[in-house]
């Protein structure tokens, strides 16, 4: 039963083929047996999950509930959960139990989904390999010597290994799409402002957006439906009706105009990934779409612009970890400054400290114009490139990452090399646009995702394109034969 999609599981639960309690026990047993080899969960909550499953079974027995009632999911450990630790992958929050639930957590609970646990992630979502986690790296279920991607690496690995039906993620610079690509699963990062950031621990506030990692576009639509929508508790949440994503899935793609940025298929792209992307575009043409070359001339600058903005916002957001109100506190501080400096030095890992320091530098007197203001101007140029492109095409497609999953340890000591791997995902966060990664093939036995980028608020179209693709391909059905 763990191979079934949410849509299939919901039908089985409704027909009474098995109960939510059976299903939850199955996932918990798989987590207990398999996760020690993957490390995709930071916390597992068997009691809470089984209690919620019991309540779901009562509702299902009465014929009540919706499409997510009794479906076991996991939350990235960046979403605050009342009663289960929320660590954000950091020693700083190793003992932090949030006094409230994130809006995303609350909404999915109201929709009937139950929580198996919290998934591993790069510390404070700062990383592209899940190796910066205080709780150790996650391993890729397709090859345990390789990374699952990051920062939502635990969510992607858990979905790929069938350790939950779906998982939430967040995407500041590719943190849903890149791990989805590396683990052969489907991920969607919605338009900035679509999903509430309330209770989602902040990294780069003008870039962060919550989303979903699941096995199919159909499942992403079900989960996103429950998560999305206006929230008065998030001042950047947008007051705009949420369309019925599932109802839009059957939209035909005949006549669809696909733009392919010429800057993205050149040097630096792994030949195996390039072959998968090219084959996918040919297939879309056979399905009735038209492919056009477009230009995003400023997109190569996205790495420089993104890292200045993200690190600046991070240095400001992470100033709240001061050892006073919550989080790690050093022993025997000599004075207040010592308390701040040592609590933060002990609580944060190396990559987080690097980013705080660069951000602090970029915002400091005398450097602000050269770095932060310059990066905001680059951001405008990148967003304008997309605006022009969407006057010409309906959707943009390209690679998610330059390579498939790389070996553990390959880049962790070279931050700049790690950052350059985000070249195809960052520009969309700078513009605030929605994007997806869908399984599109393999390169040397490793899954490769295809990136879809939509215009603002065009999640319905992205999900429909992904769903139509998944009606004629079976990459999303291919599971890693991971058994320890």
């Amino acid at each position: 039963m763990h191979h079934k999609t949410i849509a299939e599981l919901a039908a089985c639960l409704r027909r009474g083929e098995f109960t939510s309690t059976d299903l939850t026990r199955r996932y918990l047993a798989r987590i207990e047996c398999l996760d020690p080899h993957l490390n995709s969960y930071i916390s597992v909550d068997p009691e809470g999950a089984l209690a919620a499953a019991g309540r779901a079974d009562v509702r299902l027995g009465r014929g009540e509930g919706g499409p997510l009632t009794g479906i076991p999911i996991a939350h990235k450990d960046i979403f605050c959960t009342q009663g289960i630790k929320t660590s954000c992958g950091s020693r700083m929050l190793d003992s932090f139990i949030a006094p409230y639930n994130a809006t995303v957590v609350e909404r999915l609970e109201q929709a009937g989904a139950l929580v198996l646990g919290k998934t591993n992630m790069d510390e404070f979502a700062m990383g592209s390999s899940n190796e910066t986690s205080f709780y150790g790296p996650v391993r890729n279920p397709w090859d345990v010597r390789r990374v699952p991607g990051g920062s939502s690496g635990g969510s992607a690995a858990a979905v790929a290994a069938r350790l939950c039906a779906a998982a939430t993620g967040t995407d500041t610079g590719g943190s849903i799409r890149q791990p989805a690509s590396f683990c052969g699963v489907t991920g969607i990062k919605p338009t900035y402002g679509r999903v509430s950031r309330y209770g989602m621990i902040a990294y780069g506030s003008s870039l962060d957006q919550g989303g979903v990692i699941a096995r199919t576009a159909e499942d992403c639509a079900l989960i996103l439906q429950a998560m999305a929508g206006f929230d008065p508790r998030d001042s950047t949440s947008v007051e705009r009706p949420v369309p019925d994503y599932s109802a839009g899935l059957d939209t035909d793609i005949v006549g669809l105009c696909i733009g392919v940025p010429e800057e993205w298929l050149g040097t630096g792209l792994d030949p195996g990934v390039s072959a998968v992307v090219t084959a996918a575009l040919t297939r879309f043409e056979a399905m009735g779409a038209r492919v056009e070359q477009i230009r995003l001339p400023h997109s190569p600058l996205c790495v420089a612009g993104y890292y200045v903005i993200a690190m600046s916002e991070a240095s400001s957001n992470l100033a709240r970890y001061d050892g006073v109100r919550f989080g790690h506190r050093c022993r025997d501080p000599a004075d207040l400054t010592d308390l701040y400096r040592r609590s933060r030095a002990e609580g944060f890992g190396t990559e987080v400290k690097r980013r705080i320091m660069i951000g602090t530098y970029a915002l400091s007197a005398g450097y602000y114009d050269a770095y932060y203001l310059k990066a905001q101007k680059i951001r405008r140029l990148i967003a304008d490139d997309f605006r022009r492109a969407f006057e010409q095409v309906d959707v943009i497609m390209g690679p998610v990452a330059p390579t498939p999953a790389f070996p553990l340890g390959a880049k962790i000591d070279d931050p700049v090399r790690m950052y350059l791997g985000d070249i195809y995902t960052l520009s969309l966060n700078l513009a605030g646009l929605p994007g997806m990664s869908i399984p599109a093939g393999f390169s040397a036995d490793l899954p490769v995702g295809l990136q879809l980028i939509g215009d603002y608020w065009d999640e319905t179209r992205l999900l429909a394109i992904a769903h139509q693709w998944q009606q004629t391909t079976d990459w999303h059905r291919t599971a890693p034969d991971f058994e320890p």
Partner: protein
């Protein structure tokens, strides 16, 4: 190299991060490399470009000035490292 040990010390002080002597050299190298990467931005003339601070054109929402949150001090202080009589404890600030 753009930054040296002294720069690292200054930045760490601004960021309230304790950095040990042996770590300083490593940070100087890493941070300099990151700033080298960022230099790419200077390849583009942006004199007439308006900075984009936020991806969406939106104005800050306003609401009536009425209290919406109840007092939850006890709940929030339960996760604090050190409290006494409803106050957060820190090392002595004034002698």
């Amino acid at each position: 190299m753009l930054l040296d040990r002294t720069d690292v010390e200054k930045i760490a002080q601004l960021a309230r991060l304790a950095v040990s002597d042996p770590e300083k050299e490593g940070y100087a190298v890493d941070l300099s490399k990151i700033l080298d990467l960022v230099e790419q931005m200077n390849g583009v003339n942006t004199d007439r470009v308006t900075p984009l601070a936020h991806p969406l054109d939106m104005v800050q929402r306003l609401r009536p000035d009425e209290p919406t949150e109840p007092d939850q001090r006890d709940l929030f202080q339960r996760i604090a490292p050190a409290i006494k009589e409803g106050l957060y404890l820190v090392p002595k600030v004034i002698e």
